[in-house]
Amino acid sequence: MERSEIDRLLQSVKNGDRESYGAIVAAYQQPIFNYCCHMLGQRQEAEDVAQDVFVKGFIRLNQYKEGTSFKAWLFKIACHECLNKLKRKRIYERLLGVFSLTAATAHAELPDVEPEINTELRDALLRIKPIDRHIILQRIVEENRFEDIAEQLDMSYAAVRKRYERARKQLQHFLIQKEDGQDERSFSY
């Protein structure tokens, strides 16, 4: 969707036409959902988080700066939502793990294999840090500029560039490990 069309829809939403927001959701739901899926590695959670992203986008619409990319702004919300989700999950797992040392491991909580998802890629992706995962997805999938990713993460260009190179090498390494059948570790979050 053209930026001018998005701007027009956003103006309608601000004027009280909530249905216009449906058109915006329709335009961006798939990339946001795909992103959440890759970030979280779990389809149902990704659906829930993607929904929250659009709801929060609506509620915080007055914080969106006109003239900037609305899609990038949504991805920024999605990034925070996914990181929060992972953080809460990690804390909750630890809480539960304290009670049930034998049962509650992150590995046990990994989703059942979902056949439509490339499990090799998913597993390798889940082994790199969430922030690095975001950088990889924004760069490789969304083909965003490093400057924009740095803006999303409130990081310097150099820091993002460095993390990207490291994360990309890690991801390739894990993918090769997976292909060679060397991956026997459990996930750490």
């Binding site: 795909n34 804390i91 909750y92 509650a104």
Partner: protein
């Protein structure tokens, strides 16, 4: 794809493109969610368990209590005796010193409200609101033995206005397989000076730990709604001070500034801003005698560039305190988790058990009385209110004797000496003392800020 991409990046792109994710239709769900939110003031649909919803620091404090014990859920299920006898008063049983003092001073009010759904009854017993915190004693009773502990998916409405940004933390205690009690503390944007307000709580989820390794968690979706009037019964005793600039410190770690404080008979609350890394950040207060005040919880809002502002709550200050020293610190969670440390109980007192880099717990005496067993101990170290909760007695087979962290009473104002009360035990039997290594911390002493407090 951009020409700037290298071959290996193209290969990764190809892999992502080959990943077939399902098509999704969210428009209707999002619009329905927004409609529902406007009509019913519903919370975000995502499930947020209380325990996981509170700030990281508060969670860590809670983790500290929970990680005091190594018992697995299955072992916990086998332990018949709760450590501290629950006699019906939730604030007295599960509350911190501030809540207990506040209730004794007449600052709390009885609620005695209950709601039932899906075979689970939630009761709200007492509320204490002092302008620095809003705490409610709750009880969960389930018809099924699914060890209910956590409340989730909670919507908070104040004076008819939905508060989507409200945060809620809790410290639950399991009584038995079907029952738990705890304290929930609610924070929301509002008028802290209000003497009274109407509060509505809508709880959408109860979660618990089954102890069954094949299905360790229980989750019950339902609706438990409460309405109540909340009043500040200590308005005359509140000392709320906003500080001018100058109460601040800088170091290579960050910039810490105290913006104000609130003192009540039940709570000490410090408002702050912090520039620096905020993960695992917490705060310590010492009074003018150098004694550490127990931290209750903290919450903060993160802004750009690692800036945060928020508040941290502590137990009330000892009377006569004229100045406090507030120091930020970082918890340093161990990568390999905490380790159990044990020592045979003999008469060769004192018996010291190491809690890692944090310090040690020293058992000075154990009294086997007809009606109870008293363990006299002291903690020495840098985080005494985390350390003190981690001492227990077990059989030589490693079986815990009580399931809760027990009744612990501080018995000295100028040291961290406690008495832990157990049920009566056979002194002829052998026992083992246990503790866990505790989460290490790094005090940012260069960022200590001194504040003179008015009585």
């Amino acid at each position: 794809m951009s020409e700037a991409f290298h071959t290996d990046e193209r290969e990764l792109k190809r892999r992502f493109n080959e990943t077939e994710l399902p098509r999704i239709q969210l428009e209707a769900r999002v619009l329905a969610d927004l409609d529902g939110r406007l009509r019913k003031k519903q919370p975000l649909r995502s499930k947020r368990l209380l325990a996981a919803g509170c700030s990281a620091a508060a969670v860590i404090l809670m983790l500290g209590i929970l990680s005091s014990f190594p018992a697995s859920a299955e072992k916990l299920r086998q332990i018949p005796v709760v450590g501290k006898l629950f006699e019906g008063n939730i604030f007295m049983f599960a509350g911190d010193n501030g809540l207990i003092d506040g209730q004794n001073a007449g600052m709390s009010a009885a609620l005695n409200k209950e709601a039932s759904d899906q075979g689970v009854t939630i009761k709200l017993q007492d509320v204490l609101y002092d302008g620095a915190r809003l705490s409610i004693g709750f009880e969960i009773i389930s018809e099924q033995p699914d060890r209910p502990l956590f409340l989730g998916d909670i919507a908070v409405t104040v004076d008819g206005q939905f508060k989507p940004g409200a945060s809620i933390s809790t410290k639950p205690h399991a009584i038995d397989d079907k029952r738990s009690v705890g304290i929930m503390t609610i924070d929301f944007d509002g008028d802290e000076h209000a003497d009274s307000f109407d509060l509505e709580l809508s709880i959408g989820e109860v979660a618990g730990l089954t102890g069954d390794s094949s299905s360790p968690y229980s989750r019950i979706i339902g609706e438990w709604s409460f309405q109540m009037e909340v009043a500040n019964h200590s308005a005359d005793s509140i000392n709320r001070v906003e500080l001018a600039e100058g109460y601040e410190a800088k170091s290579k770690d960050g910039h810490f500034q105290i913006k104000g404080y609130t003192l009540t008979p039940a709570t000490t609350k410090v408002d702050f801003t912090y520039m620096g890394e905020t993960e695992w950040l917490s705060f310590q207060i010492k009074d003018d005698r150098g004694m550490i005040i127990q931290t209750l919880d903290s919450q903060f809002t993160l802004h750009k560039k690692n800036a945060a502002n928020g508040s941290v709550r502590f137990a009330p200050l000892p009377s006569g305190t004229k100045e406090i020293f507030v120091t930020p610190y970082y918890l340093l969670p161990a990568k390999k988790g905490d380790v159990k440390v044990s020592a045979e109980l003999t008469e060769a007192f004192p018996i010291a058990l190491s809690q890692g880099n944090v310090g040690e717990v020293i058992v000075n005496d154990v009294e086997f009385l007809d009606d109870k067993t008293l363990i006299h101990y002291e903690v020495q170290g840098i985080n005494p209110y985390l350390q003190y909760a981690s001492l227990w007695l077990e059989t030589v087979d490693g079986e815990m004797i009580i399931s809760d962290f027990g009744k612990r009473t501080r018995v000295s104002d100028d040291s961290y000496q406690f008495v832990l009360e157990y049920p009566p035990l056979d002194p002829a039997q052998p026992y083992v003392l246990g503790t866990m290594t505790q989460t290490d911390m790094r005090l940012l002493e260069e960022l200590t800020v001194k504040v003179e407090v008015s009585p």
